[in-house]
Amino acid sequence: MNVILIAVIVLGGVGLVSALVLYLASQKFAVYEDPRIAQVAEVLPQANCGGCGYPGCSGFAGACVKAADGGSIDGLLCPVGGQAVMEQVAGILGMQASAAAPKVAVVRCTGTCDARPHGVEFDGAHSCRIQNMTGMGETQCLYGCLGEGDCSHACLFGAIKVNPETRIAEVDETKCTGCGACAKACPRGIIELRPVGPKGRRVVVLCNNKDKGALAVKECKHSCIGCGKCVKTCEKFEAITLDANLAHIDPDKCKMCRKCEDACPRGAIHAFNFPPRKPKTVAPVNGLQTTDNGQQAAAPKSEV
């Protein structure tokens, strides 16, 4: 009886003392966390993708609260949640969400198997990064899609997949959140984040080839050869620039007239999500065709 009593007293005493110590410690070393951080984190998608530039959703929530204390949450954007989530966040923090253009990943390569034959086969580890280390890869193009799918492994939303027929990564626009994980994973920097555009429409140069014209012609049927025809057609808006033999369309200046698409002799410029054109001329509709005309236009540059 006595033994039981002693045991109960000793254990109870230890329990009481420990509880007291823990209570005091929790009071003394309490860390104040702004309750708004938890509230903000609650409305975030919890994908922890890092697309916002912060380590996970709670990191982003902390950054939002800190920015709100600073007076404005402009410049902070959760690419996954987009405008809707940012408005909710702004509501919690008593701020105004600035309008942000949602973005989407664009794979700038159309070097399909027929356009860019796979002359050799890489049988090493299935990784774009590793294949890229070997040099050219399977095709003659040093800039095109390697097709091993590092981007699709990096995507948390299942939005980018390598098409086994073309061996090029393709983006599912309905799933893409524009977090940019694929763009970081691509060793050749082919994937670009572009504004989705009005009604999802946008005009993009789908090539990353920086070689000189004569070489680019040999490497791929759809390569940009840096001929500058698109730049000339766009003189009015100055949306297209030519850098290192590669054209680039500035999405902020592009007026979606699609003249460059028609002008491109290589079919490297693509217009996304436009309604089908009325058939009036023989202009390439999907841009994937290379006309004889295009080959001739490329000829003057071949004297390098």
């Binding site: 050799v120 090493g124 580890a125 990784s127 590793i130 070997t134 050219m136 040093l142 070689d211 070489l215």
Partner: protein, 447 residues
Amino acid sequence: MKTFKKGGVHPAECKLSAGSPIREAALPKQAVFSMFQHIGAPAKPVVKKGDMVKVGTLLGEAGGFVSAPVYSSVSGKVTKVDVALDASDTRRMAVYVDVDGDEWEASIDRSTTLERLADHPELDSQTIIDRIKQAGIVGMGGATFPCHVKLCPPPGTKAECVIINAVECEPYLTADHSLMLEHPDEILEGVELIMKAVNVTRGYIGIENNKPDAIRLLTDHAQSHPNIEVVPLKVKYPQGGEKQLIDAVIGREVPAPPAIPIHVGAVVQNVGTAFAIYEAVMKHKPLIDRIITVTGKSVANPSNLKARLGTPFQQLIDECGGLPADTGKIIGGGPMMGKALISLDIPMTKGSSGLLIINQQEARRAEAQPCIRCAKCVTACPMGLEPFLLATLSSQHMWEEAEHNDIVSCIECGSCSFTCPSHRHLLDNIRLGKQTVMGIIRSRQAK
């Protein structure tokens, strides 16, 4: 018999071209000289379209201290200075020369008389190093590290001995072997020159004992060179690795990077380099040709060719009976460390020690299976690393942990992948990790 202590494997030797004499390859119609024939800064082209060049004319000057000049190996007209596909399977700057005749620069001594260092007291260390630097000589074993850099020990280090790498541990390759059989005296003079350049009195030539004829021949000829010792070594891959060779020959272990062989007092040069040094210093001949083994089980006539740099590989294969119908892969270098080529238009460079044609059946890699934790790769690693761990860390992009596990010590010999019973892509992943970690270290140092 001596060998290195840690790890190693023993692939089938397949030295098909052993004992076949060195043949002179025909001159190419067009030669292409890459400006990236060495490790370090690329050479800068000094010729332009339309220039006439002779054999031995400077085409590109060294782009820095760790760099080497490039000379023309043919005479003719420069047709363009443009990018060209090279053995790294990328396009890089090169000089194209259309060959016309075979006219040599007058400064080159084309006689075959043996010049002895003992007869040239005017050659001091600095003169020798200057001539080597000027001749554009790089490590001929395949690493292509500019030779003069190794002969100028960094401050605080002192060379104690010269070790010549005549191991040729790569299966199939016999270029060094044939060179030793045909030019033993020139090689020994080359070794004397290297010893004089770094002011040491001890030289070793390490040869694996699968080349008994070369060991016998060099030992005989070395009798008139009392400072040079021929060391027969037990056959084990990768004995030709610098660190493994030092361990095998003088029993010293080179610490982990950034330590280099000179920190244990050793200067290691390839036997082909020794021969090139002899020609450069004694005959004023820049590095314009080398011995290359063209081999493979289906090749009609596996040979050791003495070919001019810039010759397209296609021509070398044609000289050995043409490309076999069942070709699966064409490897520049040996089967263990060589690199598969994507085109036969690629020209040979200073580092082309071999051209290996593998048939379709042997070329295919088996599918990778899960790791069974047998630790064969750990046993095989000559650097005492844990390849299975490094490969996993790299594939998971855990660069920091990979760095802590000494990934930069990896010499990329491929013993781990060779030995893996699950055919895992160990070296592919480790190489990715090593490059990334080295990039991280460099950017950290730059800060």
